[in-house]
Symmetry: C2
Amino acid sequence: MAHATRHDVSDRAAKQDDPYRSRISLLPEIVPRVDPVLYGGRHSAGPLTSEQLASYSHDGFIQLHGLLDAAEIKALQAEHVRLRTNRSTIDQDTLILEPGSAELRSVFQIHVQSDLIGRLASDARLVAITRQILGDDVYIHQARLNYKPGLFGKEFYWHSDFETWHVEDGMPRMRALSMSILLTENTPYNGPLLIMPGSHHHYVRCVGETPDDHYKQSLRKQEYGVPDADSLSQLYVAGGIATLTGAAGSIVVFDCNAMHGSNSNIAPLPRSNVFLVYNSIKNRLTDPFGGKKPRPEFIANRRKATALAPRSVSLFGDR
Amino acid sequence: MAHATRHDVSDRAAKQDDPYRSRISLLPEIVPRVDPVLYGGRHSAGPLTSEQLASYSHDGFIQLHGLLDAAEIKALQAEHVRLRTNRSTIDQDTLILEPGSAELRSVFQIHVQSDLIGRLASDARLVAITRQILGDDVYIHQARLNYKPGLFGKEFYWHSDFETWHVEDGMPRMRALSMSILLTENTPYNGPLLIMPGSHHHYVRCVGETPDDHYKQSLRKQEYGVPDADSLSQLYVAGGIATLTGAAGSIVVFDCNAMHGSNSNIAPLPRSNVFLVYNSIKNRLTDPFGGKKPRPEFIANRRKATALAPRSVSLFGDR
């Protein structure tokens, strides 16, 4: 008993030390980010212009057009159709369905399950941008295909990915970014990505505690780690909302702590994308900061955290 | 029994004669509209330009900016807040809540319950436009305040208002229009009105039958009278989707048969509007074409179908 009490006390002290503690209070709070957005260092030379870097630093995201060529986009779209129609080739544990239906919502660990998407994840063009922003060698923390079906696609409520990765996966600091590679046209009306510009400079501590095995339902419909209405209003008043529309093949690069979400999709036009999360090799996962057991490997890469060796500049290999 | 059989047969024959029959087959169908969009006649001179009329005829809607002045917009916004926060003054039957919550979604018969909105409904500026399009004297078929709350506003699935008004209310022909007067800014991200341009030229017969007292849940969440996926795709491929954004005070005028809907609203910015439906006095309601008992008076005006006497040009009366 004495041991258990000591453990509880030191555990609580450790949590109070954590600048990104969350889900341990009944009151929400917004605090400043304590990590850089752009990391300098030996990798900081790279393909992005200083204007693009400044925009990323200010808003928490940039959009890239024309990085992939038409043949590459077509190949990714065909791969997406193939994976969707041949579900038997996919590890069933990595399939997530829409809330209240049997429609496919996401396939996780897609870079391992698809050679083409594996090549995309380690493509020199994407990795060079990631290294330039994060100032370090990187690895894939999470990779998935998202399908937002036409007509009945449901909304994704506002969230910071980092809040979840910190509390549930043990990602120590904000030194990660996501790339969303659009596979269908994203219009104002088919549930495009919404980001609150500048929100990545602030950290919203969420209220409540995380239930055990939360991921089993949170990937379908989030109910914990949800920011409160007042904090969202403050971030909105400060920076507004950007609606990230774009042609198939365009790419959104966004900071791990950007507040983002998307509305439903009643349009007869699905919204699909490949979602790749890159993390600095100096920011590998530890025990989850929320104190629960880690989520499965297909959601958060713990074992294979070796730096990516960037491949030559084409999804089709050397040419 | 013999009588009942004869009745069934003649009832079925009557339905087969109805150009806008719906919800009587297991297979959906798209058929051409048989009514005009613009009606000529003695009222056809009016404030809209020939370009505006041509646009309305082609697309099924127009947007009007600057028709209401700043003081009028402010007064309508204040009235909306007043009605929302003093629910006790409202006939409880006319309140519709969001699906799965206690949030207010709509207040019906609002032109009778609010003097200001009553004046808006009979405002000479709106009535002149309506008469010009419908070529006749008009009356209010339905009037409501819609609230789409910020953060948790739910989507409205695609529908033709006329399909419901015909089947459930007994509106004979397509000689009605709606005006949506925006009370908050409508952006791409707070669930704005979406319309499929050109869809009003086609009538989608929906499948299935209407349950008794369908309105009690359909005003919260529509499950019958819902167009099928193939028909929606055809209309979308033909005309696309228009996202009707605009400042508070702007007005969308749209045909009773325009296919429309809206996505969810996760933005911390509510979307509210006054929704007024004008019908030609030659198009007064008969028995519902679906054969069920009529919906209540607060949803579909049966008794008070006298032509509007347009009021002077200000919401504040003569000045």
